[in-house]
């Protein structure tokens, strides 16, 4: 192996998985094994969820602090973005290997790696969300008498929520997908990754499939929950969308029934009509 030999390792892992799943004499899933190991599976799932939530929450808090720094001092954007970009670019396996000598085969190692992957996407979405607030709204907020801080927390952050939430969804789903790799740190690590590595090590495809399927399901469920949360937090986006749609419908109906009234369907004259 040259260097960390990561590419070679990943190829081997892939070969191994293919070999395991291709065993002709083995059924795809042994249901009995699942029934006998529900406690283990549940533990792995709970750990997976824990690792994910800790990583996302810590990542979000760190990202918020970094974003506040950027929003206050613009010059910090380039260096912060560069650093989080490098962290994001390091292959997860390499990061684990780099951290093990310092933090050992611990949950801390796993979390450091997981958190560092969330930073880039979260910092970028928070900053982009706040930057996306219309200058008129910003100007009005300042003119009303909001202090800088009040303006940020009561106007800009709430309006940035849709963008921040989409970043949070990507960060969460990515983290769910990365947690299993932490299974390399030991047989008690990596959430559902334990099952996956167990399957690979023993050439036994049932735990491999259970781990993989549950990982996907967990990602989907968390994503749906976050969509619901966004829905609850941003009622105004729906009201606005609905109004725009109704306006367009009215406009196209008017245009369809009488082409001559087309001029009357532009927003300015609609305003006059109401």
């Amino acid at each position: 192996m040259t260097g960390f030999g990561l590419d070679q390792f990943e190829v081997n892992l892939f070969d191994r998985a293919t070999t395991v799943l291709a065993q002709a004499d083995e059924p795809i899933v042994r249901w009995k094994w699942i029934g006998d190991h529900t406690a283990e599976i549940r533990t792995a799932l709970v750990q997976h969820l824990e690792l994910t939530l800790i990583a996302v929450v810590v990542g979000f808090v760190l990202s918020m602090l970094l974003s506040l720094l950027i929003l206050r001092f613009r010059v910090t954007f380039a260096p912060i973005n560069a650093i989080t970009g490098v962290l994001y670019a390091i292959p997860s396996l390499a990061l684990f290997v780099l951290l093990v000598p310092i933090t050992g085969l611990t949950t801390l190692t796993a979390e450091i790696a997981l958190v560092s992957y969330t930073l880039q996407i979260l910092v970028r979405s928070i900053v982009a969300g706040v930057d996306g607030v219309s200058p008129a709204v910003r100007d009005a907020a300042a003119g009303m008498g909001y202090t800088r801080g009040q303006r940020l927390w009561r106007v800009e952050m709430p309006l940035a929520l849709p963008v921040i939430m989409s970043g949070l969804r990507i960060a969460t789903v990515t983290t769910v997908g990365l947690v299993p790799i932490a299974g390399l740190l030991g047989s008690d690590q990596g959430g559902l990754g334990q099952l996956i590595f167990d399957g690979l090590n023993r050439f036994f495809n049932t735990p491999l499939i259970v781990g993989a399927v549950l990982t996907v399901l967990l990602a989907v469920v968390l994503d749906v929950l976050l969509v619901q949360l966004e829905h609850l937090l941003t009622p105004w986006t729906r009201a606005t969308r609905k109004a725009r749609k109704a306006q367009r419908r009215r406009a196209s109906r008017a245009a369809a029934t009488n082409p001559a009234t087309k001029a009357a369907t532009n927003p300015a004259t609609n305003a006059a009509a109401t």
Binding site: R138, A140, L159, T240, P267, A268, A271
Partner: protein
């Protein structure tokens, strides 16, 4: 109330100053319109009053206090602010938008709710608008909310930066009317930036005509600016129809009314003929018991005993004393008698105006 004293603003990297050396005073309770071409620093001037822009030198005072001596947010809580793009907070309902400043001032819930209801009514919006979001409203409705939000904590000063610039002409005219009605009741000190000369003339108790670089070319009541432009720049800026624009500012009561060729129904025809001849016209107005019945065409006179036996035609339009001379002019040129008849609230005849009479009103 608001004073600018040798105010100068230079933006970093700009060629010349946005505002060079500007001094003028805005009296309490008046609407002052700032008008000029783009680059004249009218918005910059406005934004220096609430410190959204800070002057490079010179002082801006509000109620006698240098604005630079006050915390920006505290200063702004006492100054209403309305902008062209409205800038309502999209994530808050209309009621919460209007409640912005009262909430910042820490009013209690009940007082805020009562005030919001009051303001929505004041700007002509139904109470059920309170629960909607800004995105659900038309441009004109949004701007009404913008005005309500600015008035929420009853600030003595209102800054308006082209507030009606983004709505269509019909809505704009209505919003202008409403602002004038509101002002009659509220007596705010209003600084109003516009690039629309008609709007500046219509709304301003005074208008400040600014040239590029914040040079104050003329400052005074619109009638004065229109009657006596200070220089070529002002003259060119006012544009065509200076006389008509002035007429639209002057009330009918500023002209002297002519009693006119008036008879009663009982007047004999011979007498009516004599009155027509005296006034060099071929018609007479018929006024009975002080009220205008209409007018009679002299060509009809053909052996009748009195005016009562002829056909009396009503005047299509009559004017009140507080109508403008421009309306009077419009009325008389569309009337076959070439006069505009003026009555009081009880439709009692006050007199009439012809072109000469209007001309004297303007001079």
């Amino acid at each position: 109330m608001i004073g600018l004293d040798h105010v100068r603003k230079v933006f970093p990297g700009a060629g010349g100053p946005a505002v060079g050396d500007l001094s003028f005073e805005i009296p309490e309770g008046e609407i002052v319109t700032l008008i000029g071409p783009s680059g004249c620093g009218k918005s910059t001037t406005l934004r220096m009053i609430n410190r959204l822009i800070e002057p490079t030198s010179g002082t801006v005072t509000v109620a006698g206090t240098d604005v630079m001596q006050r915390k920006p947010n505290e200063l702004r809580l006492g100054i209403g602010y309305v902008i062209q793009q409205v800038g309502l907070f999209p994530h808050r309902t209309i009621a919460r938008n209007v409640a912005t400043v009262p909430e910042l001032l820490g009013w209690d819930r009940a007082r805020i709710d009562a005030r919001v209801g009051e303001l929505l009514e004041l700007v002509g919006l139904d109470a059920d608008f309170g629960d909607r979001y800004p995105g659900e409203l038309s441009g004109g409705q949004q701007q009404r909310v913008g005005v309500a939000r600015a008035l929420a904590a009853d600030p003595p000063v209102l800054l308006m930066d082209e507030p009606f610039g983004a709505v269509d002409p019909i809505v704009r005219a209505r919003l202008q009317d409403e602002l004038l009605v509101l002002q009659k009741e509220l007596h705010k000190t209003i600084v109003f930036v516009t690039h629309d000369i008609d709007e500046a003339i219509r709304l301003g108790d005074r208008m400040a005509v600014l040239n590029v670089g914040g040079v104050l070319e003329q400052y005074g009541p619109p009638t004065e600016v229109l009657a006596d432009p200070a220089n070529d720049f002002v003259l060119r800026f006012i544009g065509a129809e200076r006389g008509l624009k002035r007429l639209s500012l002057l009330p009918v009561s500023s002209a002297e009314l002519d009693p006119g060729p008036v008879v009663s129904s009982a007047t004999p025809i011979a007498e009516a003929r004599r009155i027509m001849a005296d006034h060099h016209v071929d018609w007479v107005a018929v006024v009975d018991d002080g009220r205008v019945a209409g007018w009679v065409d002299g060509a009809q006179f053909n052996g009748q005993a009195s005016v009562a036996e002829t056909e009396v035609r009503p005047f299509a339009l009559t004017l009140r004393k507080d109508d403008t001379l421009r309306e009077a002019l419009d009325t008389l040129i569309t009337s076959p008698t070439r006069v505009a008849v003026v009555v009081d609230e009880d439709q009692r005849y006050l007199g009439m105006l012809d072109v000469a009479g209007i001309g004297e009103g303007v001079s």
